[in-house]
Symmetry: C2
Subunit: 420 residues, 2 copies
């Protein structure tokens, strides 16, 4: 079979290491020129395929591709764009296959989360039906760590490290000020449905009494009296209280705390932060002085403090995706299999996309302490290896040096335009 | 003269490198045993002196003291506690001197900002009047960089680096998502009156069009129409807009964009939440999807990404404070003098506390672009060297390893208790 081209796209919220996966895909593809002539990267993800707007990665130097390993954000642009069901919008899938056919694209590498694995699965099915079979391989990515089957998901280890390091550092700040100033510090982290990122804050502490004193998980219905009692006990026993709260923390009836529809501590209309809601609750009920931080995008773009394990795994799933493709596989996703906790050992396996798509993996109850406010030893055993190792990007003049791509467009071949 | 003891205290908001100054003080004092027998550190700052609650640093190992160089927060506890004017509360000053006399303390090292330099100055004056002259030496510290005379202030370089790195990283995230998702990203940083920290965000960009596209300084009265026009132009020209806003950004009439209504122990208005105000303004007027981060304590405790220049200077002012003391000086503060921009060269000088106390150094107008939303080349020349170099703390199992002090208390000598 003559070599065909590959299409690679990033999907959904980016991570500190998604480009390490891109690096793994492209570097490995370059080693399999007999199978893969070129990797075309979608500009702004799958939209780049639909609109025939693709970047010719063969025009990027080996040094640039290698430097992707250290670069946060989405090197080619990502998209929050979910293809609808085939019955609802067959035209999109047909357009995709039309573009793939025009550009001789036989491989589709889709780097994303649950939704994206569903799309990749559908592309694999419909392309076959349309007589232009494309090997669709998922490349797992999500800061939320909520993909099933895989032991953990690239992107998570780095945000986990960022949250653990930041919690440890901020806790030292608060502890040293608490006698006359802030007694309660709240760090709001991502995780709308799954509390893995909040759980990672728990790594900041080594022994009982260490911060964080409270973690609020989406998986545990918020119990306000128990929460306030724990804040008070923490301040009384330790002098201060550090809280890591997931943006997805919710009331027993399922409403997000952040949807309170109230005004924040400063009288501003509430715009969706859960941290100010918690802060106001603490102030109104306990009167403690508080501060809060909202990490937002900083947490998922903090390549400067990425986990070395995470970077390595992100690269490995990209590399394995290409190996699976050249071995003739389709509708699969590389997964990480843990073979040992201590010492931490892992290997790469694979799973059918049908087993991964549209499923969310929550923090299991046995990873959360009985009172619902902390992580268990089992959780710590699971999380600890994922934040191991530092993988600093190169710095120039005190700032991280990230590559600039040429981003040369693949010349268009189709007469028709597609409007997204 | 027989050796006397020294008292060292941390004051006000802590920084990522205040303990590097403590390290400089204690290590240097240990080299001058003929003058300084022991350094007593105030537990929770000056309150530790008033309540006779001091830590015997001679009981800490050389390794622990050396490790202070890498430790964020305030190793001995800091305090937001300002001694009143001598006429208003003579009792506090008299108590201080009483404690110093009881513990044979002839040196007072006060590690803080403007307010603290005023206190140190007063201690120097009143101790002389009371017949127990104490050599009071200020050790400059503030993330705000608003101390006069000194070219820059230890603590600032590291928060500047954190903000510049975070802005660069988050901007790459937003840039890659903007076609289908967030178009405006707002990072709220500290700086109540002086916009040095916000200015540092400007280092994230190298060339025109780079993020941040807008910086909001406390020094520039907020011009809402001009701001909104610039947001729109940035989104239209670059696809997205990154804004770094100082917590002290204010309307032309002087009101902060985010007024909390409460005041801290120094009587300063307590701020928070300017980012959601800006976000709502963007949403209501332009309709763009936004995200915002509030760095809060993360920015001043981020020892993991401290500036090497800052760590070195923080240590140097601590060391120099002791040298000034053993040379017989009082009512002075070590200052940093820049002797060259390129290559960056600096040396340590000193200034009388009377020239430093209670004065704030703002960002000069010539450091801010004509439109009020950016930094000039002159500002860049000033800021760039201060974030240079990485000085990573040691990591164990993926997390920074920070020392634990024994914190052995100096036995009390006074019969009287003092209630703060």
């Amino acid at each position: 079979m003559p070599a065909m081209n590959a299409f690679y796209a990033q999907s959904g919220g980016v991570t500190a290491v998604i480009n390490a996966s891109a690096c793994g895909v492209i570097e490995t593809a370059r080693k399999h020129r007999k199978h893969i002539a070129n990797v075309y990267a979608g500009r702004n993800g799958i939209i780049g395929a639909l609109t025939e707007d693709m970047i010719d990665t063969n025009r990027e130097t080996a040094a640039t591709i290698a430097a992707l390993r250290n670069m946060p954000g989405g090197a080619f642009g990502s998209a929050r764009y979910k293809l609808k069901g085939i019955e609802e919008n067959r035209a999109e899938y047909e357009r995709l296959i039309e573009v793939f056919r025009a550009h001789n694209i036989g491989y589709f590498f889709y780097n994303g989360g649950n939704d994206s694995m569903d799309t990749a699965h559908k592309v694999s099915l419909i392309s076959k039906k349309m007589g232009f079979p494309v090997q669709a391989i998922g490349v797992p990515k999500t800061v939320d760590n909520d993909l099933p089957v895989t032991d953990n998901c690239p992107g998570f280890g780095s945000v986990a490290k960022y949250v653990a390091v930041s919690t440890r550092e901020a806790a030292m700040d608060v502890a040293s000020m608490a006698s006359t100033s802030t007694k309660v510090f709240i760090l709001e982290v991502m995780g709308r449905h799954a509390g893995w990122i909040a759980a990672a804050g728990g790594l900041a502490g080594d022994k009982p009494g260490d911060a964080p004193h409270i973690i609020l998980f989406p998986e545990v219905p918020f119990d306000q009296p128990a929460f306030l009692a724990k804040v008070r006990a923490s301040v009384e026993n330790h002098g201060y209280c550090v809280i890591v709260v997931s943006e997805g923390a919710a009331w027993p009836d399922g409403r997000f705390l952040a949807e309170a529809g109230t005004r924040d501590a400063f009288g501003h209309a509430q715009l969706g932060g859960v941290a100010p809601v918690i802060a106001q609750m603490v102030r109104d009920n306990l009167g403690y002085k508080y501060h809060y931080a909202i990490a937002d995008y900083l947490q998922r773009s903090a390549r400067h403090i990425a986990s070395a394990v995470d970077v390595e795994q992100a690269y490995a799933v990209g590399r394995e995706a290409v190996r699976l493709a050249v071995a003739g596989k389709s509708a699969v996703m590389p997964v990480i299999k843990r073979t040992s906790d201590k010492p931490y050992r892992w290997k790469i396996g694979s799973a059918p996309l049908s087993r991964v798509a549209n499923k969310e993996k929550m923090v299991p109850r046995r990873y959360i302490t009985k009172d619902g406010f902390g992580i268990t030893e089992a959780c710590r055993r699971y999380l600890a290896p994922l934040v191991r190792g530092e993988d600093y990007p190169p710095f120039i003049n005190g700032l991280p040096k990230y590559p600039t791509l040429k981003g040369v467009a693949v010349p268009g071949k189709l007469q028709t335009k597609f409007v997204v």
